[in-house]
């Protein structure tokens, strides 16, 4: 599964578990307008860490955090430093 598909699938899984309704997941969608709250993001990041073995949030400055779905996918791409 590509990183992109993995990230989108986990977003949908977490939203379903937490009873959140998602708008269509486009690259440009702002994460904060996705309907997910801080707890959902925390769960999402832990699931992605389990799936990819990486937690880019912990090594990044908070000011470098992604703001959109596209940036979130890029954040987990292997080339991301």
């Amino acid at each position: 599964m590509s990183i992109r598909d993995l990230v989108l699938e986990e977003i949908r899984n977490v939203a379903a578990e937490q009873d959140k309704t998602l708008p269509p997941l486009t690259e440009g969608l702002a994460l904060l307008e996705s309907g997910l709250d801080s707890l959902c993001f925390a769960i999402l990041v832990s699931r992605l860490e389990d799936a990819t073995g990486r937690d880019p949030f912990s090594s990044a400055k908070a000011s470098e955090f992604p703001h959109t779905v596209g940036e979130l996918i890029a954040f987990y791409e292997p080339l991301h430093a």
Partner: protein
């Protein structure tokens, strides 16, 4: 801090400039309190009473506090989300005989004198009741069992506040919790205004509003700040001062704030409802200088078995209720339960001694979650622990021994999470489950905790 005696006195200290407290939905002009009240002419009916304050919008809480301080014998300050059952339990402990409730919400209980908090303010009578040293009763943020109530007075609450030049304050906090209450009192004793969030106001909208109002000083938890950075809207404000408290501030969030606000002074503060404001750290690094553990002064620290104890005049006076434990040890130190690790001349907060998990500022007792999991037919035993999270500090994780070990799988994991969510608030339900064959016990036959 000069002796201002009551909140009205505190406001007067700050001077007569144009000052207000505002949420998105309400605006309080502080000068109006001289002749008006959120209870109108009925305000004096609370004289000498022990009053439960349970409202929605923070502007109403602020107005009622200003009205009640010095008039009521006690104020029980109910934080948002304090359920009716907890309000009733706490009301009994404070011997409540008055209720200040939100005019837009049904009263949560019945008491002798019940008055709605209404905005805008309405004309009131002149002050003729004797001025009391009102006790402020704050529930601590624990989530299980009967609420633990800490008794403060205005004097203990303002102990860390020094006279300051003009500051325009905002906070992500709720002013009904200790961290937010400190900002409320700072703003009232200063010369400026205070901007607060309305219930369910999106963070970007709040930051936009704060930007238009040109706030200069702002506080929140590390989780609030991470969320603000995640929103990409930190640039809507340009504060001179940004403060973090309520959770452990790590180097990541401090560096993020320093990058977002390169010209601001950034401090992380350590405080608790029981111990009061303990210290603020302004050097941009996580933790605090270890030599603070040995210095003398208004606030003294010591470590006992790795946990921080604090002796301070800003602490609560006592805990309330029959059978409430003593607040301090024999030497007058409050045991915070916060574990400290010493490394390279610095003290670092590493978690709670009793294993309470802090999920974005909300405390979760593992035992409560374990009880919910253990009530499921598919679960034989559960152990709940914190999994570190760069977003909320921690999330709740569980190790589960199944009744039928062959049933283990992603499907059952989802079922158990969903079942826990039906029984518990979202932040308490495990986000992550690991199936294990057995759970370790201590010699005393108790579940062995992580760490």
């Amino acid at each position: 801090m000069p002796d201002a005696a009551t909140l009205r006195g505190l406001i007067a200290l700050g001077g007569a400039g144009a000052r207000e407290i505002s949420t998105r939905d309400h605006r309080l002009d502080l000068a109006d309190f001289a002749a008006r009240s959120a209870f109108g002419a009925a305000r004096r009916r609370f004289a000498g009473r022990s009053v439960v304050l349970a409202v929605g919008d923070m502007a109403k809480a602020a107005a009622a506090l200003i009205d009640l301080d010095g008039l009521a014998r006690r104020i029980l300050l109910c934080p948002p989300g304090f359920e009716a059952e907890k309000i009733a339990g706490a009301a009994a402990l404070v011997e409540a005989d008055g209720l200040a409730y939100d005019d837009e919400i049904a009263p949560p209980l019945t008491l002798d004198v019940a008055l709605p908090v209404r905005l805008p303010l309405a004309p009131r009578e002149a002050d003729d009741a004797p001025r009391l040293a009102t006790e402020w009763v704050l529930p601590t943020s624990g989530t299980s069992g009967p609420p633990k109530l800490a008794v403060h007075t205005l004097q203990t609450l303002v102990g860390a506040i020094a006279p300051a030049p003009l500051q325009q304050w905002a906070t992500f906090y709720d002013i009904r919790r200790y961290g937010g209450l400190q900002i409320f009192l700072r703003a009232l004793s200063g010369q400026g205004s205070l901007r607060l969030a309305s219930p369910a106001e999106p963070i970007e909208g709040f930051l936009d509003r704060l930007g238009e109002l040109a706030i200069t000083h702002i506080s929140g938890t590390p989780t609030h700040w991470r969320k603000a950075m995640l929103s990409g809207a930190t640039g809507r404000i340009s504060p001179q001062y940004a403060r973090l408290s309520g959770e452990i501030a790590d180097d990541g969030v401090l560096a993020g704030l320093a990058a977002a606000y390169p010209h601001a002074r950034i401090e992380h503060a350590y405080a608790s409802t029981e111990a009061g404001v303990v210290f603020s750290v302004a050097d941009g690094r996580a933790g605090f200088p270890a030599d603070w553990l040995t210095r003398s002064g208004a606030v003294e620290l010591k470590l006992v078995d790795g946990a921080l104890r604090v002796r301070s005049s800003r602490r609560a006076l006592r805990l309330l209720g029959p059978g409430a434990p003593a607040l301090t040890d024999a030497d007058g130190f409050v045991d915070t339960g916060d574990m400290i690790a010493l490394r390279d001349g610095r003290g670092y907060f590493v978690g709670r001694r009793n294993g309470v998990i802090n999920v974005g500022g909300a405390k979760v007792h593992p035992e409560e979650v374990e009880a919910a999991l253990n009530s499921l037919a598919s679960v034989r035993a559960a152990r709940v622990f914190a999994r570190p999270s760069p977003i909320t500090g921690a999330i709740v994780a569980a190790e589960v021994v199944l009744s039928d070990p062959t049933a283990a799988g992603r499907e059952l994991e989802r079922e158990i999470i969903a079942a826990a969510r039906r029984r518990l608030p979202a932040h308490m339900a495990p986000a992550y489950i690991r199936f294990v064959a057995d759970l370790p016990m201590t010699d005393a036959g108790k579940l062995r905790r992580h760490g």
